[in-house]
Symmetry: C3
Subunit: 352 residues, 3 copies
């Protein structure tokens, strides 16, 4: 924390700069760049206040808070995009966020953590519950996609299948939370680090909320300047949905996850990275199926073959790598490598 903070905090100056640029100019590319960069130090602040909160509440709840506040960005961007009717980009950014957390965030955390520590141990049961949850999400992604392959289904049939699958996934998400936090809570307890919080609980919560609000504001600037900015940069909307939005949206989780890995608290890293993916796959994405109905731009739960295959591969890789309850730098490099393979394969694809 202390090491990262000095080098990033000065970027906070970009928060007012991006707002001024948005209000006073037409420079979309400048708004895009400043708002994107402004999110990075805000993510650092979120990470710091989350870490302080985690010291008050314990690593498990701390990890949950982290994942929740990390995903607030994704949720806001998604709703904004749905209102605009850009359903394909929403789906791409959800897939990209799952992949980014599972492969890039976890990969870089394992890699950097593994360079400093020979082997890092974590609660294998927690990783296993998450991996199984993700495999259910793969089932929830794959079966409707196969159902829609025939191409003869009606709108109502699509909505019934999407709604049922979404409801099952949300129910299983709640069930997994109940299992880990209530009925079998003792299996997931991690030993406390013995560190004392240096912020009061009130200060941590206040800072967390303010930083989250600013991340949301910057995210909105980012999204509204996205289309014209991309036209100048020559990037496809799909690539942005799959790769760019999730990297920016996950900056908060990313910096915290790496931080905890460097401090040898890989359990918190896993809770952030895999927990965040699980939350997006089993809660955020299904919830958007229902929320989108309210907005009047219904989003079904039919993902492309590309997206289903990528999420399935990432899930199997994470399962294989986390099965032994230990991580090292090679496993981090392998996850990151898988992310690069997917990113480059997505790069030239116009339609999924």
């Amino acid at each position: 924390m202390r090491k990262l903070a000095p080098s990033l905090d000065w970027l906070l100056v970009l928060v007012p700069v991006s707002i001024v640029l948005e209000v006073a100019t037409d420079a979309h590319l400048a708004v895009f760049a400043t708002s994107a960069l402004a999110i990075v130090p805000l993510a650092g602040v979120i990470g710091r206040s989350t870490e302080q909160l985690a010291l008050h509440t314990g690593p498990k709840i701390g990890g949950l808070i982290n994942a929740t506040f990390g995903n607030v960005t994704e949720l806001i961007i998604s709703i904004f995009l749905i209102v605009d009717g850009k359903i394909a980009i929403v789906k791409a950014s959800l897939t990209g966020s799952i992949l980014g957390n599972l492969l890039l965030v976890l990969g870089i955390s394992f890699f950097l953590g593994g360079l400093r520590h020979e082997e890092q141990e974590f609660n294998q049961r927690s990783a296993s519950v998450h991996a199984t949850s993700l495999m259910l999400a793969v089932a929830g992604f794959l079966m409707p996609a196969l159902f829609a392959l025939g191409g003869r289904e009606t709108f109502i049939q699509r909505e019934v299948v999407s709604g049922t699958v979404a409801a099952v996934l949300i129910a299983l998400y709640v069930a997994a939370l109940a299992f880990m936090l209530i009925t079998h809570e003792h299996l997931f307890r991690t030993p406390s680090a013995g560190e004392e919080p240096s912020w009061s609980r009130r200060r941590a919560v206040t800072t967390l909320l303010v930083a989250t609000g600013l991340v949301a504001l910057e995210s909105e600037l980012l999204v509204s300047s996205l289309e014209p900015a991309l036209a100048s940069l020559g990037l496809s909307e799909l690539f942005v949905g799959l790769i760019v939005i999730p990297i920016i949206g996950n900056a908060a989780e990313h910096s915290s996850a790496v931080l905890f890995a460097l401090r040898n608290k890989v359990d918190v890293t896993l809770e952030i990275a895999i927990g965040s993916s699980t939350q997006i796959a089993l809660f955020v994405a299904p919830a958007l199926v229902f929320l989108s109905l309210l907005v009047g731009h219904p989003m079904d739960f039919v993902f492309s073959t590309f997206e289903v295959a990528a999420v399935a591969l990432a899930t199997v890789l994470v399962f294989m790598i986390s099965a032994d309850g230990r991580s090292n730098w090679l496993e981090g490099a392998q996850l990151t490598g898988a992310y690069v393979i997917m990113a480059v394969s997505f790069f030239f694809v116009e339609h999924l």
Copy 2:
């Protein structure tokens, strides 16, 4: 047993009722409903006599007997359908039976067993042998499906591929049995429960055979009334093959599997649910490839993408969940959830 028995045994009255309806009336829907419901208490009787037999023979052989008698229903229905030339429904019911056992039967057993017992332990090696066998079945389902994707193969080529794959699967089924019952039998022994059988071996066998005969008779009534009954109900034949027939056909295994889970004998539950799936995938389905040749309606071993994907997903889920040799209510809920996701996705599909 004692708890379930009173509430179900009175349904046995539907055995003569269904026969009278079939002989004396044209009420297909009534025959359909009465024969379906009549199978439920018969399944209970089979479960009870199997349990008694299991006390005489030990849980391993008991589980095998259970799986065998549970699959008699599927075998009879399948042969009957093949004689009628309804090959697609046979395949659907075989797939559905595998999915039903792996996800629904195992899921509800784990769920209910897990509500009563915090964690249930089972012989992980047995689960592992079955999971690997199922993955071989997935290979046996997938490769011919890919081979047939091109659509330029001849009838003879299809039959050669189907016959070879079927022969390999049967050989591997026999090999797995030889491994578990002969060469490495000591690895699969489970501690005896210390319970004494209350029926004689003869009484158990006689009851088992009579109940099985009646289940077969009722199954035939069920199948013969299926088509007109479905026309009235508006269900597609495929959905019935995938979901309805297997649920009725697996009622026997289902009630026994849940019963043993509640009594904390999850090893028997696994032998029933996974063992039954293995038997259908590696023995019943391949055997039908050869039996169908005798009947003159050759059934090849080419399954649809939907079916292959669903069986592959179910196998991976069961492998992930059984890898640690422990079950709990969440894992039960997850398997059941996966079944619901598949069932709803299958619901509107007319052709696989």
Copy 3:
């Protein structure tokens, strides 16, 4: 060794015979048959000298040497085929080599080793690193295949995706080697067998090099006589690429792997079989993407659905079977059975 040697060494007479036939006659089928058979005893000699070298260097380096010298054959055949512009056969033979090592070589080794020894133990961590590497190769095979499914990509896009994926795989191959031989070397040490080498290091190296040179020569005769010979035999080029070339090309690994399994040194068997697959998937195949550019017949990294599915299935099976660090005859039979299922499904396919 002592047992196998007498029965095979007389086949070495086919080395000069095949050369005479090639130089003096037009009998393609005879050249094909004699060169193929000549490779078998040469593989035996390679196995013997590798084993002697392994006694000097330890099982880990010995296994690496084995895999390297086993893959020299594949590399030479591949380059030769690329020069001729037969890209599809190169890809098929790479896939076939991965499948042959993972399923056939490992399967027969486990089977025969398991008949002699009840259970054989091996270093589970080594198997796990290889399995994860293979799953990355699956990602590297699958994603470009999906990218190319649309069919609207340009040649440059194909080359960029292929080159990037190939570079990532090579980097991860080097990383896995660095992990196993340098940073975490102590995790992969296997106890020495206490056997003394009967050849000097110099004699082992010289024999190894001469035998390898002769294998390369015979491989060239084999490949040059392949096309006319196949025309007489009525086999498709694809089947030869997928099944025949790899079986001959892997003869060296095959005999050594079985030998070590019979002697209860399964760690060396695994290093040969899985290590060889990993090397082909993460090093030989990606390297050919770049080498083929030099030759002027660029080979992209886009494999067929059939090939991707087969490699994915084989990887999952090997992961499931090696997860417990023990092997037995059933697991050997299962891997071999999977190979037969794939071979028969490939047999009638003309184009992948």
